[in-house]
């Protein structure tokens, strides 16, 4: 080997070695550094994603209770069907499984098949299946294992379903949840975060073929779900039911087109005791339309128009009219105008206002009429309220002035949402957002036209008058409880501001009580409970029934007892299309009915006037087991008339039964045998339109007892409705409750 060629060979060896080491190994080291240091985290995340099966453990949604702990909404265990699509080996398996599941679950096969194609471990097919369906799925899992040797592709996991034991009860407040357990409306939506809880996770490391159990290596980490918090509402199930009952009754009687609302507030705290929106829907089935008008309208449509109408009708159905809708408050707003004037010392006991049947607030503008076209003449401030006189209030409004009017409008909380813990709250509408208004605007807004407020704003503002001037923030959830029942949050009373003085409020309460006793609001009066209130009838700018007249809103807002107000109630009917549309005729009786049941329930002590005491019901004594003659003497001694049915010697039954209510001077029917009770049934007559005296006579002739509600005492009181419908068969002695109204409202007269 020559020296030169040898050294050349050595050099070439060096070159090749350097190329391999520097170029080859160098680039390799660079590439590995790039992958581990630069892309490392991203790649590791992807690796972890495929290695870990992450299963969500649903948290149980919290329960919703009424103020007394009655369950209004609750989650119960159901099941969800999930697939592990990655474990499918071929399309044949996918077809078998998708076909089988589609039959059991009623989902179309194609969509399931599409899910089986995904390269993931976990894909939910259907949620909230009941145990019956679950059994079928389990059977199917067993079947495909035995017949087709398909395993590990279908799984059943615990899930929860929301149940509402009272169905449509308080539907506007409670709301409902969607298929993923998420709140969609009402409190379910508003308090979704509280109710939802924290879902848990089950993280399992699996091997590449999804069958981790076959390997010695296992990794499992479980994070338990934290169940959702529960809500305790201020809503009282009993009160709400009372409100629902009479509201619905009023709604039907007055052929209300656009639903009706009743809101009751504890004036001392702002707690909402009941919030009733007529035309509720079953919370267990929120997607079914309940509004007959809407159903009728939709049935005539087809295609996309129908779909659109349906979804509109559904959102209307779910809407909480009490917080999401505004309305012209009408004469109820006169309370607020009056408060402004009193507080600003623009009126006093000596102030007088003249009504000639109309008033021209602005020179050159057309005159605005009073509902009493012949005029109220000269009235005091109190009389103006009791007469609900528009010309007087235009003058009062003018005395307050535009600036002060806007100031008080804001102060009473009409210019901002009340902040109630319910979703979708609307705001009041003023003529302009900065409070600018014309003289004419001032005139009409003085009696509640031209400005729009929400029912909840109205009840909050009137509660401020009732409680001595404090504007409160209304609320429906008084407590949030953790899963162990500990109180996490509680709401007591949130005072927003002092609006008017106690003196102003006391003065107003006095006048409003007078108004309810003998003024335009007397249909809302409840004997013994010193109701203070005001009616309202406002014009809408719609004419749904096409009778050529604009539709109206009939409302009544009041509180009781006047000397120490406890609760404030607003009843409001949107577009009554029956004989009456006046607040005094439509809303006031419902107000009275609700209050007459709620006040005793709340154990508010009664304060009867002498006159009232006379008409008061007493409770019947027991005459059972006495001889007929003995019993007769006793009944008469107790101050009732007596009728005996049957030939026996001793009293076997009596009507009214012992300890039930019987009007003073009523009739006690004694039966000598129990069978007689059914034998002697009488047909209930119609008391409609009768005065108290007439009703008494008729009742006596049928041997029936009547119990009296509403304005029976006033000279023009007539029966508006009766608790047992005419034509029904009842035993003699049965007590029938008659609700009276003023005859002016019974027909079609003008009272605002």
């Amino acid at each position: 080997m020559s020296k030169g060629s040898k050294s050349k060979l050595m050099r070439r060896c060096m070159i090749i070695m350097s190329i391999i080491l520097v170029l080859g190994f160098g680039t390799v080291a660079f590439r590995l550094s790039q992958l581990t240091l630069v892309q490392g985290q991203e790649l590791q995340q992807k690796a972890v994603d495929q290695q870990l099966t992450d299963t969500t453990i649903n948290a149980r949604r919290g329960t919703i209770y009424d103020t007394n702990g009655k369950v209004l909404a609750q989650s119960a265990t159901v099941w969800k069907v999930v697939l592990s699509p990655i474990n499918f080996e071929n399309d044949e398996e996918r077809t078998i499984v998708s076909k089988g599941l589609s039959e059991i679950l009623g989902i179309d096969q194609e969509s399931i098949f599409a899910k089986t194609k995904e390269k993931i471990y976990y894909s939910v097919v259907k949620r909230q299946i009941e145990s019956e369906t679950r059994d079928k799925v389990l059977e199917f899992i067993k079947k495909i294992k035995e017949e087709n040797n398909i395993t590990g592709v279908i799984d059943l996991l615990e899930d929860y379903k929301r149940y509402y034991p009272y169905n449509d009860f308080a539907s506007a407040v409670i709301g409902f949840t969607g298929s993923d357990d998420q709140g969609l409306s009402g409190l379910e939506y508003e308090y979704n975060d509280e109710l939802t809880g924290t879902p848990g996770r089950l993280v399992t490391a699996t091997s590449g073929n999804g069958n981790g159990t076959e390997l010695p290596f296992q990794y499992e980490q479980k994070v338990d779900a934290i169940d959702g918090n529960s809500l305790v509402l201020t809503i009282d199930e009993t009160i709400q039911h009372i409100m629902d009952k009479y509201l619905e009754q009023g709604n039907v009687e007055n052929k209300v087109y656009n639903r009706s609302v009743a809101v009751m507030m504890d004036v001392k705290t702002g707690a909402i005791l009941g919030l009733s929106v007529e035309g509720g829907y079953d919370l267990n089935d929120p997607f079914t339309l309940t509004d007959k008008n809407a159903i009728a309208k939709i049935s005539g449509l087809v295609g996309s128009e129908k779909e659109k109408a349906e979804s509109e009708a559904l959102s209307a159905q779910w809407k909480n009219k009490a917080v999401s809708d505004t309305y012209y408050p009408g004469s109820v707003f006169k309370i607020i105008t009056a408060a402004m004037a009193l507080e600003e010392n623009k009126v006093n006991d000596k102030s007088t206002f003249t009504c000639t049947g109309y008033y021209t607030p602005v020179q050159g503008a057309p005159a605005i009429g009073c509902h009493n076209t012949s005029g109220h003449g000269t009235q005091t401030f109190a009389q103006a309220i009791c007469n609900s006189c528009n010309p007087a209030f235009m003058q009062i409004g003018q005395s307050v002035g535009k600036e002060k009017f806007w100031e008080y409008f804001q102060a009473f909380g009409y210019s901002a949402p009340t902040g109630i813990d319910l979703p979708g709250e609307a705001n009041g509408l003023f003529f302009s957002s900065d409070g600018k208004m014309t003289d004419l605007d001032l005139a009409i807004s003085s009696f509640g036209q031209g400005i729009a407020v929400t029912p909840i704003q109205m009840v909050t503002a009137i509660s401020a008058i009732a409680n001595g001037g404090e504007l409160l923030q209304p609320y429906v959830v008084k407590q949030v409880l953790d899963p162990d029942g500990n109180v996490v949050k509680s709401t007591d009373k949130i005072v927003k501001r002092k609006v008017v003085s106690k003196e102003t409020c006391d003065k107003l309460s006095e006048i409003l009580e007078l108004n309810a006793k003998e003024g335009s609001a007397k249909n809302g009066y409840v004997a013994g409970y010193r109701v203070a209130g005001k009616t309202g009838t406002s014009e809408k700018k719609f004419d749904i029934d096409g009778d050529g007249n604009d539709d109206y809103i009939a409302s009544f807002c009041g509180y009781a007892p006047a000397d120490d107000p406890q609760v404030c109630l607003l009843v409001y009917f949107d577009s009554p299309l029956g004989n009456n549309y006046y607040g005094s005729a439509v809303a006031a009786p419902v107000f009275s009915q609700i209050m007459s049941e709620v006040m005793p329930y709340l154990s508010v002590s009664t304060q009867y006037t002498d006159e009232e005491l006379e008409k008061m019901d007493t409770t019947a004594n027991s005459y059972l087991g006495l001889s007929v003659s003995e019993a007769q003497a006793k009944v008469q001694a107790d101050g009732y008339s007596c009728v005996v049915k049957g030939d026996g010697d001793t009293v076997a039954a009596q009507l009214p039964a012992a300890s039930t209510r019987i009007p003073q001077g009523g009739t006690v029917v004694l039966y000598t045998s129990v069978e007689e009770v059914a034998n002697g049934e009488v047909e209930v007559p119609s008391f409609s339109g009768m005065t108290l005296a007439e009703a008494n006579m008729v009742a006596a002739s049928y041997n029936l007892n009547i119990s009296v509600r509403g304005v029976s005492g006033v000279s023009d009181g007539v029966v508006l409705n009766q608790s047992v419908a005419a034509g029904e068969m009842v035993a003699p002695g049965t007590v029938i409750t008659l609700t009276f109204t003023t005859s002016s409202n019974y027909g079609n007269n003008n009272v605002m």
Binding site: M1, L9, M17, L43
Partner: protein
Amino acid sequence: MDLTHTQTERTKRRSQHRAASSVAAASAGAARRRSTHRSREQQRGSRLKKAFRVGAGVDMPFLILVLVLLVCGLIMLFSASYPIAYYSEGNSYYYLIRQGIFALVGVGIMFGMSYLNYEYLKRISLIILPVGFLALIAVFFFPSSTGVHRWIDFRFFNIQASEIMKFAIIIFLAHWGAYQHKKTNTFKYGALPPLIIFVVTAILLYFEPHFSGIVIIGILTALMVILYGGKIRWFIVIGAVLVGVVLILAVTDKLGYAMERMDGWGKALEYVDDAQWDQTFQTRNSLYAIGSGGLMGLGLGQSRQKYLYLPEPQNDFIFAIVCEELGLIGAIVLLILFGLLVWRGFVIAMRAKDRFGTLLAAGLTAQIGIQVVLNIFVITDWMPNTGISLPFFSYGGSSLIMILFQMGIILSISRTANMNKV
């Protein structure tokens, strides 16, 4: 010694046997210079003793590196393979035991080879080339696995035909380069024979198909030609022709399998379509494994990707598991071990007593280095996934034995060189 120093390449080739030559030299010396008989006897005795001691004469650093890599390889093979062994064979030790046996056999062969005078290989260098070609043809008579013919089934073990061919080409070109070293700078002697061998090999591998084999053999051939003094311009010309051929094949869609493999190459992490996504599954999971390792690794035995995510983690992609478990640091340490092995292999080559030894040691060492680099290119998605195993690590009896056999040859070259120095 004196004799070998003065011997020309040709005479040296004729009197090869180490024992024979040393005995002849010793006896000749004894006859001529009796006075120094005793000392020479002692010298001879110590030399013989040294020659038959295990470590004697061989390059110790190289031997140690080989054994260290082999042990590392076995440990990593066990770690990488036990889930799949448990899952598919029902025995976590399945691959470890088999590979361990192969390693023992291989180490035995390696030591055996280290005692054998590598110059004998010159004699088989002409036979081994046809044997290599035969092997490449023989694969077509064995049942294919998944449509590719690469293996010759010897019942007890399989051997990849291309493994034989790689070895054959290195030996042949080493011999050719040594034998014709005066003419290897001419195109006729220097370029034409390797070109013909490569083209024939490439055609046969094309039909197997085994494209990574073509790439490795191509690179090896080129390196051998460069080593024995090839001209750069040949590569330019041949390279141009090759590019042309590949382009024609690509345009006429004849690359089929390779194109399929190329399709997903370089974008294993991006979803293109289902076919590509499925096809790059192994590479993608390899990248996940490497990335998961980060700088420090998850710890020996802690790989997650080996749990049936990375298909066949015991084979070509074992280094991905190494990266996942030992991190970048562990991977670099192993790369340094391989680098040292390459360096030491070239040191042996440069110290070899003859041109054949130099070329042979350099060629065999280069093969290790190239396979390491290409293997990591594959597992890191820088090269299409076409089956390049990692020496000492990847499971496979025949290739491990082959590698150790070749290491034995390098040791033999080092031993001969060291013996001659004494």
